[in-house]
């Protein structure tokens, strides 16, 4: 065991070079950042109030000008500015995805690490629940939970957090399990580190890589799930703008007003695609367990 270990992923190296695999991902990082900025600054970026209706200006095509107001992406069935609705929709998507990823990550990582550290009954309890959750189709699980809690933005976050933590728990469990027998974790114990300190200082930093990968891929899924639930009328409620609910409305008008469905659909596609490509890149980069 005297051969020096390869430098771990995430450690700062003496010489930093741009990773060549990063270059094709850069445009998608830009797309993601663009969505993030749009979501953050929606009130300043949206040209119109996304809720104000204009019943005389309904279903106008992109670029149409109604009484001096330009509708860049056209209007919806209630005469609301589609561009503004899509911008506010980005806000809902990003907010729901971020919150649900953060909450489920915290719950999952904590439970997974505890299960691996204490083993025994705690492990059996936690990991059985994980198995059960992971064996139910996720969107079905989400729908059932919404049926119990009721729709609405906060509830969507709750539902996603409560149903998505097992994936983090499983990864955190496996990673922690392989780390607790690593000499450096044993040594940390031998010189008197307490359990919380061991988890926080010595194990957690060494599992951030794989957890980040899961979180990124989950982020894309959460965007999709929020849109799906809203599409089904189980997510955020009108008049709040969501890409999912706008898509659902647009479905009725594909023949006459194709833009209502096209633009939120396109945004959804672009956001999820970029998140997933970033996730794939991170997996190649950070997760030593997935050599593909």
């Amino acid at each position: 065991m005297s051969a020096p270990l390869p430098p771990p992923a995430g450690a700062s190296r003496p010489v930093r070079r741009i990773d060549r695999r990063l270059i094709p991902v850069l445009p998608f990082i830009a797309v993601f950042l663009l969505f993030a900025i749009v979501a953050l600054f929606a009130p300043w970026l949206a040209p119109q109030n996304p809720y104000s209706q204009d019943l005389l200006g309904r279903l106008r095509p992109p670029g149409d000008v109604v009484r001096g107001t330009a509708y860049l992406l056209g209007t919806d069935e209630l005469g609301r500015d589609l561009l503004s609705r899509v911008i506010y929709g980005a806000r809902v998507s990003m907010l729901v995805a971020t919150l649900s990823v953060v909450v489920s990550l915290v719950i999952g990582v904590a439970l997974g690490m505890l299960a691996a550290l204490f083993r025994g009954a705690i492990e059996i309890l936690i990991m059985r629940i994980v198995d059960v959750f992971l064996s139910i189709p996720p969107i079905l699980l989400a729908i059932i939970t919404v049926a119990v809690l009721g729709p609405g933005l906060i509830n969507v976050v709750l539902v996603l957090a409560l149903t998505r933590w097992p994936r983090y728990a499983r990864v955190a469990f496996g990673q922690t399990l392989s780390l607790v027998n690593q000499p450096y974790v044993r040594f940390a114990r031998h010189i008197g580190n307490s359990t919380p300190r061991l988890l926080w200082r010595h194990i957690l930093p060494n599992i951030v890589g794989p957890i980040t990968v899961v979180a990124t891929l989950e982020f894309g899924l959460m965007v999709l799930f929020e849109a799906g639930l809203s599409f089904l009328g189980l997510g955020v409620q009108p008049p709040m703008a969501s890409w999912g609910s706008t898509l659902n409305v647009g479905r009725n008008y594909v023949a006459t007003a194709w833009w209502i469905a096209l633009f939120p659909g396109l945004c959804l596609f672009l956001l999820i695609l970029s998140v997933n490509l970033i996730g794939d890149y991170l997996r190649d980069r950070l997760d030593p367990t997935s050599k593909r």
């Binding site: 065991m1 005297s2 051969a3 020096p4 270990l5 390869p6 430098p7 771990p8 995430g10 450690a11 700062s12 003496p14 083993r119 025994g120 690593q182 000499p183 450096y184 044993r186 040594f187 940390a188 114990r189 031998h190 010189i191 008197g192 580190n193 307490s194 300190r197 200082r201 010595h202 930093p205 060494n206």
Partner: protein, 334 residues
Amino acid sequence: MSVTARAPTEEAPLTVRDLSVHIEGAPVVDGVTLDVRAGETVALVGESGCGKSMTALAVMGLLPPAAHVDGGTIRINGSDTTRQAEHAMQRLRGDKIAMIFQEPVSSLNPLMRVGAQIVEALLSHRRIDQQAARRAAIEMIDRVGIPDPETRFRQYPFELSGGMCQRVMIAIALICEPAILIADEPTTALDVTIQAQILDLMRALTDETGTALLLITHDMGVVADMADRVAVMYAGRIVETAPARALFARQRHPYTRLLLGTIPKVEGQGRTLLPTIEGVVPDMRELPVGCRFHPRCPLAGPRCRQEAPPLAAAPDDPAHESACWFADRVGEIA
């Protein structure tokens, strides 16, 4: 090092009495009694699997989940730790007692700078400010013989060689000046010249601070270099214990005698192949009746196959104990 320098009434920093540990019914540690006095180096020797590491881990209170202590007492600096709660043990570890082991490179956290790891060890037991801790850590890096401590302080483990990682591990273990250091085959993974340097360093540091050193090894050459006293272990039991000089002069257990025959002859091209003792280490779940060594012992007689010999002092030397019915005849083995 003088073994008798201190008043005999002063309790040794580490005393182990009648310690027994079993794993899945196998008595991997069976009635082990062991003292390590201040400033003393005790070598615990024996073949692979005889229970050396389990003894050490029991002392640290860090046995694997499958292992259970059956009985015995362990006293660290005068307090019985066998009945102590885990949080109390946590306070002792790293402060009063520390342990280093084989894999120096992978024993350091790959994501933490070397200096931060030493500082962490210090701050988890001492209430001092960050600056003082930093200075103490840099001084410690210097004391373990690493040149340019300020630079090393800021480096990551992968930037260091194996020998240097072992020095850092020693620095971490000794930063709080523990009364006891356990070193479980600390140099096995290193090459021969580095091995000697690390052993010299350990001797120098423990001499300086009066740290009691329990050195686990299966290399009798290391024992000859380092030990004040030796405890020889076979199949979970101590079979012979004596001051190093007395033990090398005369063995009172056949196993010890055969172990001494395994010191590699350093002639010609460095190390020759390690001669080994004939026969195999017994399966701990199916131990032989009587003396556990009898299937491999050249002196074994009928009594050995029925009765286990107790650990008894030599008639002429109370410090020299062995567990053999024919202790006086061990010299006959070629």
